[in-house]
Symmetry: C2
Subunit: 459 residues, 2 copies
């Protein structure tokens, strides 16, 4: 151990290797509600791909588990360390290059979404993935294929990443993709490493596509009698060609929670708040103010024609508060004693059916369940309030079974990590799991990369 | 062999196994200019994933090479059979389901782009990938990650495919993804199989995203003094927020060829045709006619401000002819004796530098080279006219070296196949090639899937 410590210090310098009491609690957990913190043996903080390569070579020789850590804002426990392992923190990998001619950014994995946003703003460009946590790193976003509200317009991390540099456990540094959208030159390794939650390689550089930063926005809020009425309206909204940035829904409870959290009063009459079971929130953006106004009006009409109890154009300041309140639903839930949060995705049109059945599961298991979600893409966040572990597991199992029957998967954007592994493995076809294991083997024959995450190496 | 024939007949029925003289020339080649046709031992025409599974199981047991074939419109020789192998033709895998609520299509691989377009039109939806050949199949598009003109707006096949079903050489049928954009549930196998040119698995079902079919279009043609002037203008066009569907360029020769091919006279004055070295073609589309008109005018102004010698709004009928002429540049080139066509991609902003250097290579090697390309995404199609094989190889090598120095890759959208394999392998990092081989091994341990394509199994 002393020998390993010395070797790590030689690579990154003494002050960038932490051990024992030097390791703060921050390194022991992420934001997942129900995975216990773990203290690793070492935390190392490299500042280049070459240092990452030397660290991995060493760890691979000694068969020491390596867990990569960004900002620790994950919700699946994927970056919780192995007690006998190394945490490779990306906090010093912070370079950003904005290439305005090619409309791309080249970033190191420790760059946060907030930092990238600041760097792109002066150029009239932006990176449009908005998973709702600006302190999250690009490396973390790549690890989980982060999504968020803007996915209905811009897709997910996968759709914006054009290339990357990553380091294999062997220490080999691999480049994949580049500053271009098109490539048909061998298997797309970037897309394979993307979403692999640290189990294949360490990403050391990411090339992302930037899009024009559009300056005009309008936000609509439409209360509906039911989620079903919202679900029926969504395809029309999407097909309108208006290209909304957000198409969100909140159940009555989540909506009230978001308003309360941000102390915002929209002055909705009681006859609406007492009958509306779900709220649709639509944000339209564009380069031309008049068009945004026209589009918002057109979408408002569509909502009205499809059963909205009312349609309110929110003033910008209030819109921001409601959206922020919605983004922070995880924190509201946590404060209210939420025991778990799921991020199931089902085909968009099945969302209402899914939510109805979830309410049946809620009643059958005596579990309180709240729902908010990305109505435009079938991704719903369910807050599970059930202190009893066995009952909770049973409830979650039933929800995942339901999602699977409707053609969905366990996680849309939070990842599997450790928290959802048993649920994921149980539902996956053994032939597919075996293929995932063989791919893992192709990258990481000694199984040092984030072991025990996503799936187990042995069936 | 007789035993194998019998076994194949039992799977797909007698009339769906071809051998000897029953195998028409069509099955022996694609549209690649310089790979010799090869007659396979058998052609089989399954009509279900189950039949594909049984064929692969059999081939795997007997270690018989399997080459999947769609419409044969490829340009890299990837579907040219092995003489001792089976061609698995997707011509009977033709089912299409349009899901209007989820805005997706579920198609079998033998469906052509033209057929999918017909099926989506009545619903006001479309699949926006336009590689320029409507007879191409979706399976072929998935195999090469097809791109085309509309990539500047909608991306490439990779960005539209949400999931797939594929069959491993073991006969195992694997499902990946679904009718949703978001997933963070294990490695994305769809994205790995996508672009693998038939070397990993046989795709039997594809889920693609559909987008609103926009009814209003305007096309601008802007002659410029140089490609460089066009390249400088492109980032402004893209950043405008107008979201053009096409941003193309044609050199003077390719432009004249396109007009001649379609017998279209745009009445350009001679002082322009004699000075313009490159033409930019921009197509804007939208749901609202007035906005398309405004956007087109705004982009026309931008072109004028950035050195366009003129800007012409093409009438719809003439626009179609010029675009079709541009799409058919491969055929024009072929008729004129073109020996090869490259589809290098470089970062968009490096296109002008690339083309200047290509002209230097042209002069140094005495090779006539024409250029048209997707200016919006840095992908250029070079027609190589050089009958001498050695000189041609040398010219192509120099061009690929140049592309690589500028951060590009060998193929943007045609694929590597057999035609570009030696050029691809030579430029790839050995560590990366070794990783590609290990991944291939994870799917296809006996190496029966399209052997000898993309890269060699042994270094």
């Amino acid at each position: 151990m002393a020998e390993l410590l010395q070797a790590l210090r030689e690579i990154v310098s003494e002050r960038n290797v932490l051990s024992g009491d030097q390791i703060s609690d921050d390194y022991t957990h992420d934001e997942c509600l129900n995975v216990a913190p773990v203290r690793p043996t070492f935390v190392v903080r490299p500042d280049s791909a070459e240092q990452v390569s030397r660290i991995l070579t060493l760890a691979n020789q000694h068969r020491i588990p390596v867990t990569v850590r960004g900002a620790g804002s994950g919700l699946s426990g994927a970056c919780i360390p192995d007690p006998d392992g190394i945490v490779l923190s990306t906090e010093r990998l912070k370079k950003i290059v904005i290439d305005t001619d090619n409309h791309v950014a080249i970033v190191e994995p420790g760059v946060t979404l907030g930092e990238l946003d600041e760097a792109t703003a002066p150029h009239g460009l932006c990176y449009p993935i908005q998973p709702g946590e600006a302190s999250a790193t690009l490396g973390g976003n790549v690890a989980t294929n982060a999504g968020g509200m803007a996915a209905v317009k811009y897709g997910v991390t996968r759709n914006l990443v054009l290339g990357m540099q990553f380091v294999l456990p062997s220490g080999e540094i691999v480049e994949s993709g580049g500053k271009f959208v098109k490539s048909s030159s061998g298997y797309d390794l970037s897309q394979l490493v993307l979403g692999s939650e640290g189990t294949l390689a360490v990403v050391t550089r990411i090339i992302v596509k930037l899009v024009p930063r559009l300056s005009h926005r309008m936000t609509l809020l439409a209360p509906f009698l039911s989620v079903e009425a919202i679900t029926r309206t969504v395809p029309k909204i999407v097909q309108s060609g208006a290209g909304p940035l957000y198409v969100e829904y909140l159940d009555a409870l989540a909506f009230a929670g978001a308003c309360r959290r941000k102390n915002v009063d929209l002055g909705l009459p009681q006859e609406i708040t007492s009958t509306a079971h779900a709220y649709m929130l639509i944000l339209v953006e564009g380069a031309v103010g008049e068009r945004v106004q026209e589009d918002a009006e057109r979408l408002a009409e569509m909502c009205a024609e499809n059963g909205a109890l009312d349609v309110i154009m929110l003033p910008a300041s209030k819109a921001k508060l409601v959206i922020d309140g919605r983004e922070e639903s995880f924190w509201s839930g946590k404060e209210a004693g939420m025991s778990d949060q799921l991020d199931v995705v089902v085909p968009r049109a099945s969302l209402a059916h899914f939510m109805t059945e979830v309410q049946n599961i809620s009643q059958a298991t005596g579990t309180f369940i709240t729902g908010t979600g990305h109505a435009g893409d079938g991704n719903v966040h369910l807050g599970i309030f059930q202190p009893d572990e066995q009952k909770r597991g049973d409830t979650i199992d039933r929800i995942f079974d339901l999602g699977q029957r409707l053609g969905g998967v366990v996680s849309a954007e939070h990842g599997i990590g450790v928290a959802k592994k048993k649920y994921f493995q149980k539902r996956e076809d053994p032939a597919k799991l075996a293929l995932l294991r063989r791919i893992k083997q192709a990258f990481d024959p000694n199984g040092i990369m984030n072991p025990g995450r996503v799936f187990d190496l042995e069936p």
